[in-house]
């Protein structure tokens, strides 16, 4: 075996915090061969980003390398001064950051930003510089590179910005490239496109790369070798094929089983948990639907500010149709998945159903009663409000930081069931907490004292406390780690099987929806393009868009060999 490009030994990093020093990395060791693509996988707080930042000398003031070495081209990166690192960074080693929008300078054209990087390390004539910029844009498969080079970051889409970020990182042909969650926040189809470009560029240049991600499936599709990290330690280091067949560490096995794409049904997802109650048999009698939506529409006017030059013109009346005539029926006890990419109108639709915003046209019938004529402000005070509740996307920001867990769950009860006494309220809150598996000892705590999974449970308990008939879940697990996501998904299934509450599950993740829902609706540009059972949509997609979506989902490589044939 040739000498490794990068050899990290016993890297330890500590952070100074309000509650004393915290050891972020403990004796992390790994090697990276030239041209190899190494995936570092771990959940939040596992130290995967800290590893990258420590190697590049980008740790912030509170962080300190406490031991170890990182040999790169005969030099120990951890002992170099910032001046020497500046010579290496950009030229010999480089990084692609997580959020492409914040990583680019908003007031400089992207072509100039790439040229800046090249000029810093390898100045040449302006014509040569421009040619190199265009070359690197072409390598990123950006159409019309001459025109795009003059664009500002805000004129480009998120995926396009990330390609520029990769182009910048590769501009000086580095030998080492670190990508820190480069596709988080991108749509699944965009993610696939960006990852393909990334892999091809890295392979072509023979660059050794470290790909940091929380998504095991994504890493398995693109990487040669995977490093699994847990609370600052490397727990597994093996080639991709081996990880899935012979995972040594229990944490790796748990991570694998928590990944939705690794299992066929919700019962198989992290089976160490308490078993789920059996699914109730489909009821023979057709009961009246909980929710009926007919031809719901919502448009947003393009906000074009009036300037000096156009103030006399008639106001621009162009409207973006966010939701364009959607029909939907949800029966009691049913779980319906609403899938689509960002901007397809799924959030707008879920907010209209919840009467948080008013619809332009169409009908919403909650248990046969029309509610679309009631203004959103007045609906808050009506008894029907209790029937339909919502769980929000980010568990952290959906909790009032000044409310304890008890107050958070009790608040809607106090508003929607004002006639219940103190004792009944307490009993109700405790019952809701028990239902979602939240220990009663946590009730007096405040959100910042809870973990992400506990916060998600509080959000669900808050919605369930008033015993709704329909629960709208707006990407409730997208901000959670996979192992926590698995627990929350099982919890939602349990609630549905035990309580019979209907669920509308809004998500961009087809894999999650497949496990949770009986029926799937695929939304594209404000319209529902496909409806069917989960099995139908997955195996026999009817619409082109659904097929594209399915093709782009990262799947665990070598996991089910029978399917690959």
């Amino acid at each position: 075996m040739s000498t490794p490009l990068l050899s990290v030994r016993d890297l330890s990093v500590a952070f100074r915090t309000r509650s004393g020093a915290v050891q972020a990395l403990r004796h992390v060791s790994f090697d990276l061969a030239p041209g190899e693509m190494l995936g570092i996988v771990g959940e939040s707080g596992s130290g995967k980003s800290v590893t990258a930042f420590a190697l590049l000398g980008l740790l912030d003031r509170a962080g300190r390398v406490t031991g170890g070495q990182a040999l790169f081209g005969g030099q120990d990166l951890l002992r170099l001064g910032q001046g020497a690192l500046n010579e290496l960074r950009g030229a010999a080693m480089s990084i692609v950051f997580q959020n492409p929008r914040t990583a680019l300078n908003p007031i400089r054209p992207v072509g100039v930003q790439i040229a800046d990087v090249i000029a810093r390390h390898d100045a040449g004539s302006p014509a040569r510089l421009r040619a190199r910029v265009l070359d690197s844009l072409r390598q990123m498969r950006i159409a019309e590179p001459e025109r795009r080079a003059g664009a500002y970051p805000h004129e480009l889409s998120g995926g396009m910005c990330q390609r520029i970020g990769i182009a910048m990182a590769l501009a000086c042909s580095p030998r080492l490239l670190i990508a820190d969650e480069p596709t988080t926040g991108l749509d699944v189809t965009t993610q696939a496109a960006v990852m393909d470009v990334f892999r091809d560029a890295v392979r072509q240049g023979g660059v050794g790369s470290i790909f940091i991600t929380h998504d095991l499936a994504l890493a398995s599709e693109y990487c040669d070798r995977i490093l699994v990290m847990q609370s600052g330690e490397v727990v597994e280091d093996a080639p991709v094929a081996e990880i899935f067949s012979r995972a040594r560490h229990p944490y790796t096995r748990r991570l694998l089983r928590s990944t939705p794409s690794s299992v066929d049904s919700i019962d198989a997802l992290s089976p160490d948990e308490e078993p789920l109650p059996p699914a109730p048999p489909p009821s023979a009698i057709r009961v009246a639907p909980v929710l009926e939506v007919r031809g719901l529409c919502k448009g947003y006017a393009f906000a074009r500010p009036r300037g000096v030059s156009n103030f006399w013109k008639p106001r621009d009346t162009a409207v973006l149709q966010a939701v364009d005539g959607v029909d939907m029926v949800i029966h009691p006890g049913e779980a319906v998945g609403l899938v689509g990419e960002s901007g397809c109108g799924k959030s707008t639709l879920s907010r209209m159903i919840n009467r948080l915003i008013a619809a332009d046209a169409g009908e919403v019938l909650l248990q046969g009663e029309p509610i679309h004529r009631i203004s959103p402000g007045r609906f808050a005070g009506m008894p029907a409000r209790r029937q339909i509740q919502m769980v929000f996307q980010d568990p952290t920001e959906s909790l009032n930081p000044r409310f304890s867990v008890f107050e958070a769950i009790a608040d809607p009860v106090g508003q929607l069931l004002p006639h219940e006494g103190k004792a009944a309220l307490r009993a109700r809150v405790e019952r809701a907490a028990t239902q979602v598996g939240l220990p009663l000892a946590l009730l007096p705590r405040y959100p910042h004292q809870l973990s992400g999974g506990q916060k998600a449970r509080v959000g669900i308990a808050r919605a369930m406390a008033v015993e709704p008939r329909l629960l709208v879940l707006d990407e409730p697990t997208s901000a959670l780690d996979v192992s926590v996501q698995a627990v929350v998904l099982r919890l939602l299934t349990r609630l549905r099987r035990e309580q019979g509450v209907a669920q509308l599950f809004v998500s961009h993740d087809l894999n999650v929806v497949r496990l949770l829902c009986d029926r799937i609706m695929v939304m594209y540009k404000g319209r529902v393009v496909e409806t069917g059972t989960a099995e139908q949509v997955f195996n026999r997609p009817a619409h082109d868009y659904t097929r594209g979506l399915l093709a782009a989902i990262p799947r665990l490589r070598d996991h089910r060999p029978s399917e690959a044939e």
Binding site: R18, S19, R351, N354, L356, P376, G377, A380, G381, R385, R386, Q389, M390, F392, Q393, D394, E397, S398, L399, N400, P401, R402, D411, P412, Q415, L416, G459, R462, A463, V466
Partner: protein
């Protein structure tokens, strides 16, 4: 509680300047509360026999042209100056927070009218506006309070509006609406308590300006009337004696004024650290 104490210790250890600010504040508040009963001389009793004496063991800060003890007057003046500043800042914070929060939450015409009004208010030279208001309302302590409150109002309105604009689309506000809370309850229970820390930081910095503003108004003869011990008046009275070398009459109250403003500014920085460690520079 324990957690709070730990946080306090962390903040004080991280930045010892905060400790200085807290000590200064304690001294200022001590002067304002128990100062009048501790001082060695009556702050308004004149004794022409000992007029214009330089600082000595009897008169630590010397005496003024009427033989009044400057030290006693400086200490006693803290009560009036701080009382005016606190009252004015509290008043503008209360009004500004509610108005700004409502503007940020409801948007629409209310926001437009409110924002333009604060713009107009801020376009005036603030001190001249305060002078005009005191002149119009009558020369009294209460009109100084109102004038100071009005010129500080735009800062609170803008801050509260900005903070509420950030939070109005957060999950917990939507959750409150799904949970059956009306607009008024969302503002009162969910938004105002959450923007309070930012407002308190602003208030702490503003206290310094308010003290300066009060002193400035009385320096030019508006608001507080002459025999009452007040830092601005004392500086004004002492100014004419500086040329003849009797610096202590103006310098001592001036120094007190400077320390007070300095203390509130430091305190604002320290509070910002406690409220949001990320904005620390």
């Amino acid at each position: 509680m324990r957690e709070r104490l730990l946080l306090l210790r962390y903040v004080l250890a991280e930045n010892p300047v905060n400790l200085v600010a807290l000590l200064l504040l304690a001294v200022l508040l001590g002067c304002a509360t128990i100062g009048p009963s501790l001082v060695p001389y009556d702050p308004i009793a004149t004794e022409t026999a000992v007029a214009l004496q330089p600082p000595s063991a009897q008169h630590w800060f010397g005496t003024d042209q009427l033989g009044r003890d400057v030290f006693s007057r400086v200490v006693v003046a803290a009560r009036l100056d701080l009382a005016i500043a606190f009252a004015a800042v509290l008043l503008s914070m209360a009004v500004g927070a509610v108005a700004g929060a409502a503007m940020g939450y409801f948007r629409g015409p209310l926001d437009t009218i409110g924002s333009r009004t604060t713009d107009v208010l801020m376009a005036f030279p603030l001190f001249v506006l305060a002078m005009g208001m005191v002149a119009a309302l009558g020369n009294s302590v209460s009109s100084v309070v109102y004038a100071t409150a009005v010129i500080n109002l735009p800062f609170y309105v803008r801050l509260a509006r900005a903070e509420v604009s950030i939070r109005r689309s957060l999950g917990y506000i939507e959750a409150a609406r799904v949970g059956g809370s009306g607009h008024a309850r969302i503002l009162r229970v969910f938004l105002l308590p959450n923007i309070l820390p930012a407002l308190v930081v602003q208030a702490s910095v503003n206290l310094g300006w308010a003290v300066l503003n009060t002193a400035g108004l009385s320096f030019i003869g508006l608001g507080v009337r002459a025999p009452a011990p007040e830092w601005g008046i004392m500086v004004a009275e002492g100014a004419q004696f500086i040329v003849s070398g009797r610096w202590w009459i103006a310098a001592c109250p001036g120094l007190a004024l400077m320390l007070a403003v300095f203390c509130f500014n430091l305190l604002g920085d320290g509070l910002r650290d406690v409220v949001d460690p990320r904005t620390r520079t």
